[in-house]
Structure formats: C-alpha cells, structure tokens
C-alpha cells in the first residue's frame, strides 16, 4: 500500500500511509484508538476506497470495489463483528460467500473441504453445526475457514484475540503461525503488546493516521512500543496554557462513589471486574484506556442502562445501584453517551423532540398528559442559543445536523438541569475543532460550577487538558491512577497496555505469556 489516504468528513483517518507485508510473515499493526489501523485494513480488504494512494498485491496494482473484489485477489479480512447467519450451518455460511460454486448447493463437498482445512490449520469446527450453537472462538474459526476456502492468501485480522478466552487466543495464535509457515501473509491488528511481541515477525506502529515505525520483536520491547504508540511531542501541551484547568476549585464532597463494580459486556463475558472510583464535586476524573477494556460498560452501569453483577453505585450519598436510568437521571446525573445517534439522540426526530427527551414529563414542558407546545419551543430555543447549536430550525431532523452540532445539542440538554454528576464518554469523538473547543469550555464551566465529572476518553491530550486525575482502565479494572498535572506519558502508556508499576521497570521473560510459538 503506497501513500494511502482516507478522510471521513474533516477527520483524516489515514494520511499518506505506506504499508507492506510479506508472504510467510505475521505482521502486527498496533496503535492507539483512532490511529487509523482499522481504516487502513478496511481499505486493504476492499470495504473502503482510498481517497488517494495505490494498492498492490503480489507486485500487481489493484483497485478493489468491494470486499468480494478483494477476495478475488486473495485478500480477506476477519472483522471483530462476525458476518455469519446464525440459523445456518457452518457449511451453509461458507457457501454464502462462494458464488462460483454453482447454483446447486453442494454442502457435502464443502463439508469435506472444511474438515480438511480445519485439521490442517488447527481450526476444528463441526461443518454441520448451526452457527448459533457455536461459541465466539468457533465462529471466528468459521470466518477464517471461509476466507481460506475462498482462496484468500492475505488474511487480515481486526483485534482477533479481543473477544477470545486465553485458551482460544492461544489456539488462534498457533493457527496464525501455521498459516504464515505455509506462506500465507497474516496481518493482525492488536492492542496487546505482549501478544504482538510473542507472535509477530514484524510490527508496524501507527499514530494519528501515519506510520510511526516498523520494527521487529528482536529490536524492541514493550516499553519502546508503548512510547511509540502514545509518544508525542510534549510541546503540544505547552501551546495551550489557556486550557490549564487545574486551578483553585476546592474539591467538595464525594458526589459519585463506585465500589467493587462488576458487570458483563454484551457478549456475556465479564467486562468490569471490580472497579472502585470516587469523584468529588468540582473535580474531573478521567478514565484512560484502550477501547474495549470496560469503559462503555462502566458508564452504562453507573447511569443505570446496564445491570450490575456486583458492587455499588452511590450518587450524592444515595444508593442508586440498579435503580434504572430515569431514577439516576432524576438524581441529577447527566450522561453523554458514546454513540450519540443511537442512544443520546434520535436522528429521525427533530431538534425540539430531541431537546425534551429528558424533561418531557415535567412542567413546564408537560401539563398533565399534554405537552405544552409553547414551552417546548422556548426550552428548545434556550438550548440552541445557550450552546450555539447551529440548526436551520427547531424542526430540522437531528440527523441532518453536523456531528459537532448534534453533540452540542446533546450536551446542552444534559447540562440544562445543572447536574451534580456528569458521565461523559468520548464527548468530542468525530467532532470538528470548533465544536470540540465549545464542548471543552462547557465541561470546564461545569467543573467550576461544582459538578463532579467522570470523563471517559480516548484522546490523552483531551484527558490531560480537562481532568484533575486520570485513572487507567485495563481489562475491567483500574490498574493505576495519577494526577493529570505533570503526568508521565510513558507511564500512562504502559498502564494502558496493562503493565503495572511493579513490572514496568524491567520487562522480564517471566511476565510474558507462555505462548511463544514459532514456526
């Protein structure tokens, strides 16, 4: 891949990226969230088309119009979300992708092929089992088998071990090595440094849409990788003295207290494994961490959208564990969810319908069972003007607003009642610079007013600029906490990679996983 670029609106996901992987190697692609890894690989697999740049497979220039096109050229990708039809059997799912196998569904020959390939690469799965019977690890094997059967020679995995148990991960890693040994080209995206060092032949580190470095496990270690992933010019912070938030507000009483909180993720696996947190009035606590380490579940459990599996949530001294979303909101908790158009806003409804989502039951917006049109209009106008939401009218569908204005509307609504606690998840994701500054300004103003804020972020700069303290979440636990002022970036990076202080100083062979499988 040569000087590949891809933009999503104003966001540059890939900026003139060069990337090469060879036959017979396992090539790891690592980087922070939003570094552009998944975008780059989706371009390789034909899901996205690059805005600029060229692709070549086996020395031959190619242009993919679709994933099907990519497969025809031997490039296949295993996504994090599997593309399987649950009621169908394994063999039927494989046939779905294989159009050139003819009109008559010849499941028997596919079943035979599957068994043969499964044995050869350690991907055993019953071809006749319906997919909904299978566990996550087996489903992943089906995806791999399907690509192999379709003739893929370049296999891309998007964080393949993130969804697996340790045993399944070990078996998958053995498969990756076996495939490489047979001359396949295996590329995998990962956040787990230990795993990358144990498995990869080469490692490419991406940062902010560009390739930061390409190296090999022999030349590097976890510390150096973490630095390459997170590492940035500290000058960036000095440039924003105005963003210095760490002033004067005396911390008040504990407004949010989380004790031993446990919860399951959507996949049924434990996502929070006993989280303890405290946020005081007038204080902002940042939660850093690589995506998928329990951030979403933490926010959802606190605001009552997800049931707990243990532990407690106290807000303003009241026990609100599992009391439900509206009870939590009534206590004065604002929630800026991570997926604003799926949870916080309804895109197909208009601005005023979205503005009243929290308060529509209460006067003056409601009188008995009726909504008071004039009050709704006044309330909406107040939010729009108060937070400078740019919309053609109160009747514009929220979907037609820009991401920044959607988020400003959401923020305006959530902050309207002067909440005591704010739970904000990626508040500036996918938002332009102007809106980002406005959102930061609002959050700072809330902090000065005395709100306790839990800010879950993926951008370390943002966390450092807005927070008093930063806690790092790793595999559902808080693995460390440090004051934001003068925070040691390298230590943050290591904590995010799950390397705690005790072992951070000297990476010994003992704390590597016992899965060094070569060839």
């Amino acid at each position: 891949m040569r000087s590949v670029s891809k933009h999503f609106g104003p966001t540059v996901a890939n900026d003139a990226v060069d990337f090469a992987a060879s036959w017979g190697e396992v090539h790891a692609l690592i980087g922070e969230n939003g570094a552009g890894k998944s975008t780059l690989m989706s371009i390789l697999a034909g899901l996205y088309r690059p805005d600029a740049g060229t692709l070549g497979v086996a020395g031959e220039p190619v242009r993919f119009r679709s994933p099907r096109d990519a497969i025809r050229h031997g490039v296949g990708m295993v996504y994090q979300h599997f593309m399987l039809v649950e009621p169908f059997t394994v063999a039927e799912n494989v046939l779905l992708g294989a159009r050139d196998r003819g009109v008559v569904l010849d499941t028997r020959s596919v079943e035979a092929d599957l068994s043969r390939l499964g044995e050869r690469y350690g991907l055993a799965v019953d071809p006749r089992a319906p997919v909904w019977h299978l566990g996550v690890g087996e489903r992943q094997r089906v995806e791999v088998l399907r690509l192999l059967l379709l003739g893929a020679r370049i296999l891309v995995f998007d964080e393949p071990t993130a969804v697996l148990t340790p045993q399944e991960a070990r078996s998958l890693i053995a498969t990756l090595r076996a495939l490489a040994a047979e001359g396949f080209c295996v590329v995998f995206i990962s956040h787990k440094l230990d795993e990358v060092l144990a498995v990869a032949d080469r490692i490419t580190v991406m940062r902010r849409g560009r390739v930061a470095a390409t190296t090999t496990p022999a030349e590097t270690d976890r510390r150096a990788l973490a630095r390459m992933m997170v590492g940035r010019e500290l000058a960036a912070f000095v440039e924003h003295p105005a963003e210095e938030p760490h002033e004067t507000v005396p911390a008040g009483n504990v407004a949010l207290r989380v004790r031993g909180l446990r919860a399951r993720g959507d996949n049924g696996l434990e996502a929070l494994a006993g989280v303890d947190l405290e946020v005081r009035a007038g204080e902002t606590l940042g939660i850093a961490g690589v995506a998928g380490n329990g951030q979403r579940e933490l926010a959802e459990t606190i605001v009552g959208l997800r049931p707990t599996a243990g532990g407690s949530v106290h807000i303003g001294g009241r026990d609100l564990t599992d009391k439900g979303c509206s009870a939590v909101a009534r206590t004065g908790v604002a929630h800026i969810p991570e997926d604003r158009l799926a949870t916080g806003l309804v895109g197909s409804l208009d601005v005023s319908e979205n503005a009243i989502l929290r308060d529509y039951r209460r006067p003056p917006l409601a009188r008995g069972p009726f909504l008071v049109g004039r009050a709704v209009a006044a309330f909406t106008d107040r939010l729009i003007h108060g937070h400078d939401v740019k919309t053609p009218s109160r009747w514009a569908k929220v979907r037609t607003l820009s991401g920044g204005n959607q988020q400003k509307l959401l923020l305006a609504r959530e902050l309207a009642g002067d909440p005591a606690v704010i739970v904000a998840v990626h508040p500036t994701r996918g938002v332009d610079i102007g809106a980002t500054e406005a959102i930061h300004g609002s959050l700072r103003a809330q902090r000065c007013r005395g709100a306790a804020t839990l800010l879950i972020g993926e951008d370390l700069d943002e966390l450092l600029a807005l927070c008093d303290r930063i806690a790092v979440l790793y595999e559902g636990r808080v693995v460390g906490e440090l004051p934001a002022r003068g925070a040691d970036l390298e230590r943050l990076g290591l904590l995010m990679a799950g390397i705690q202080e005790a072992t951070a100083s000297g990476a010994t062979a003992a704390d590597r996983p016992p899965v060094v499988l070569r060839g």
Partner: protein, 369 residues
C-alpha cells in the same frame, strides 16, 4: 448488464423535501392513470370514458357518494388502528383479525348478551364490546412481544386466520340463523342494535367514529407525552431506555389501542350495514388498512384522505364493471396500478438515484453487484 445496473445506487436523502411530498404522489397517480389507461385501451375501451364513469359512479351521485363513504368507514378505522402500532414500529398486520373479533363480540352482545335492551343501552354496549374484542386480539401478540420477544408480525398474521375461522364456525354452527335456509349467517339483530344512519342513506354513525378517532389520534400524536413516547420508542429503543420510558407497558397499550380501533371497525360494519354477522364480512379491510396507513404516512389527516380515495376507487371500480361491461378484473387491476405507483413514488421522496463512477478494471472479471 449487471455492471450497468451496478453503477446506479439508491441513496437515502438526508431529509425528504416538502415539495416532493406533494408533487411525487400527484405525479404517481397521474402516471398510474396513464398506465391503467393503456391497458383499458387494449381491452377495447376508451380510457377517458372509463375514468369518467368511475368518477361519476363513486362521487357523481348522492348514492355513489354515500356508497363511497360507507366503504371509507372501515378503511379509515382499520387504517388508523394499524397506524397507531406502525408509529411505534410494531408491525400489526392483524387488523383483519381484530376487525372480526370486534364484530364477533359485538354480535354476541346484540344476540345473546343484551338481546332485549333498548338502543341507548345496546349501542354503547356494542361499541364497548367491539373495542374490547379488538383490543384483546391486539393484546395477545402485544403481550407475547413485550414479555417473550415474539415477533408480532407473525403472531398478528396468524391470529387473523384464527379470528376469520372463528367467525366462519359461528355463522355455520352455533350462531347460525335457523330460518335462513342453510345460508351462513346469524339472525338479524333487533332494530335497537342498528347504528343510526347519517342522512337517509346507508352511511352510518361509524363514519363519525372514524373521523373522531382521527382527530383524537392527531392530538395524541402531536400534543401528548404518550404520543411523544410512542414516536421515540418507534425510532430508537436505546434512546427510549436512556430516557427511562416504560417500553413494555407502552407496547401493551399501543397494541390494545391498535386492535380496539380495528375492532370498532368490525362492530360498526355489523351494526351499521348488515345487522348480522355473516361470512366474508370483510373483503380484506384489515389488509388494505396497511396500505391506507402507509400511503397516508401514518398521519391521521393523510389516512382520512387515503381511505376516502381508496374507497372511491373500490366503488368506482364496481360501477364500471356493472355499467360498461368491462372484465371483472379491470377494476382491481386499476386499483393495483394506482397503489403500485404510489408506493414506488414514495421511494423517490426518501431516496435518490445516484450514478457511481465507472467500475475499475478489476470488476471486468466478474459481475459487479
């Protein structure tokens, strides 16, 4: 060939244009009339004469207009009924069954429950029975959906057959009129059970029910907390949970209301027209209701208009069949063409055709889809 088609894609418009919302249906109907005219011409008739006769038959005389309003009544009530559920994205396609249940329970009141009551007691009791019967038939799939996650589309559809066959069994068996010489149907209700006529025509009080229901629903959707909740829940389950809305309870209430309106349609059909329960009481009103609701954009005002237009099409079609000696299939075919164009045009108000750049050389090796 596949490549040629493959270059065109339907892309969703960010927001439907206001002008398009008026122009597109108008153009659709015009095109439908042209297409229908071609076929009529092939059948050897002058299309303009046929359309003229349809118009005159449905709207041109006192009796024609009355007949159109008689047909409007059940279409309006069932259309409003299913629209309530559709607003919440609950796919109640059981309007037909709920219609029959309303008719059955109302018939029971008239024949066996309060056979000797006077009109002032009997008619309200029958109205309540119609509402309750339909509500019950809507609540069954509602409860299965709310508590077990059962697909309401399937359950409502299957309950249609149960209700239709139940009515069949009653009119052939236990409720059969012994003096009807084997003709399937219940005995006539007492005159106290008849819905009063509006003017000396067959138009009956049911029409007023429909118009009232449309007005009430307009207020409900536009002006109440509950209507707002239905809208939010229909669009986004997650947002509804986020706002703490009671999803289960609302599913039950919405399905009950939806069924109740369809049941009221069934009740007003037996009490307003035949004064008896008979076989084939409905020529598929509960299904046509789905089209009425969609073409009316789930808006009560739109549904009133569409129910009337569709009723006129039905009555006009019957007229030309009788007066012009056209094949019996022509009338329903014309209705089909109008609907086809209306629904097809609907697509263009929300999507637009976009031509994609020419496929790369890579696509030349196989069909691009």
């Amino acid at each position: 060939m596949a490549d040629v088609l493959g270059r065109w894609r339907l892309e969703r418009l960010p927001s439907p244009s206001r002008l398009g919302a008026v122009l597109v249906p108008a153009a659709s109907i015009l095109l439908a009339l042209v297409a229908g005219g071609l076929i009529v011409a092939l059948a050897g008739q002058n299309p303009l004469a046929v359309y003229g006769a349809m118009l005159a038959g449905a709207l041109g005389s006192r009796n024609g207009l009355a007949e159109t309003l008689v047909k409007t009544t059940p279409l309006l009530l069932t259309g409003l009924g299913v629209a309530v559920a559709f607003r919440m994205r609950l796919w109640n396609i059981g309007g037909e069954g709920q219609f029959y249940l309303g008719a059955i329970v109302a018939t029971w009141i008239a024949l066996f429950g309060l056979p000797d009551a006077g009109g002032w007691a009997l008619v309200p009791a029958m109205i309540a029975a119609g509402l309750l019967g339909g509500a019950l038939w809507g609540l069954i799939p509602g409860a299965l959906r709310a508590y077990l996650g059962a697909n309401e589309t399937i359950v409502t559809l299957m309950l249609n057959y149960v209700a239709i066959l139940l009515a069949d069994w009653l009119v052939h068996g236990p409720w059969k009129d012994p003096q009807a010489f084997g003709f399937p149907g219940t005995p006539r209700f007492s005159s106290a059970a008849a819905l009063p006529a509006l003017a000396p025509t067959r138009v009956h009080l049911g029409l007023l029910f429909g118009v009232t229901a449309a007005a009430v629903l307009w207020v409900l959707f536009r002006r109440t907390r509950w209507g707002y909740e239905i809208g939010v829940m229909g669009e986004s389950d997650r947002a509804a949970r986020y706002a703490g809305m009671p999803t289960r309870r609302t599913i039950l209430l919405v399905m009950a209301l939806s069924g109740a309106l369809c049941g009221l349609a069934g009740m007003s059909e037996v009490a307003g027209i035949g004064q008896q329960l008979q076989r084939n009481l409905s020529p598929g009103y509960g299904y046509t209701a789905i089209i009425v609701a969609w073409v009316g954009r789930l808006h009560p005002g739109g549904i009133v208009v569409v129910a009337f237009v569709l009723a006129a099409l039905l009555v006009g079609g019957d007229q030309i069949q009788m007066s012009m000696g056209l094949p019996a299939a022509i009338a329903p075919m014309l209705q089909g063409i109008v609907l086809f164009f209306l629904l097809g045009g609907e697509l263009l108000t929300r999507y637009r055709l976009v031509r994609h750049p020419a496929p790369s050389d890579a696509a030349a090796t196989g069909a691009g889809t």
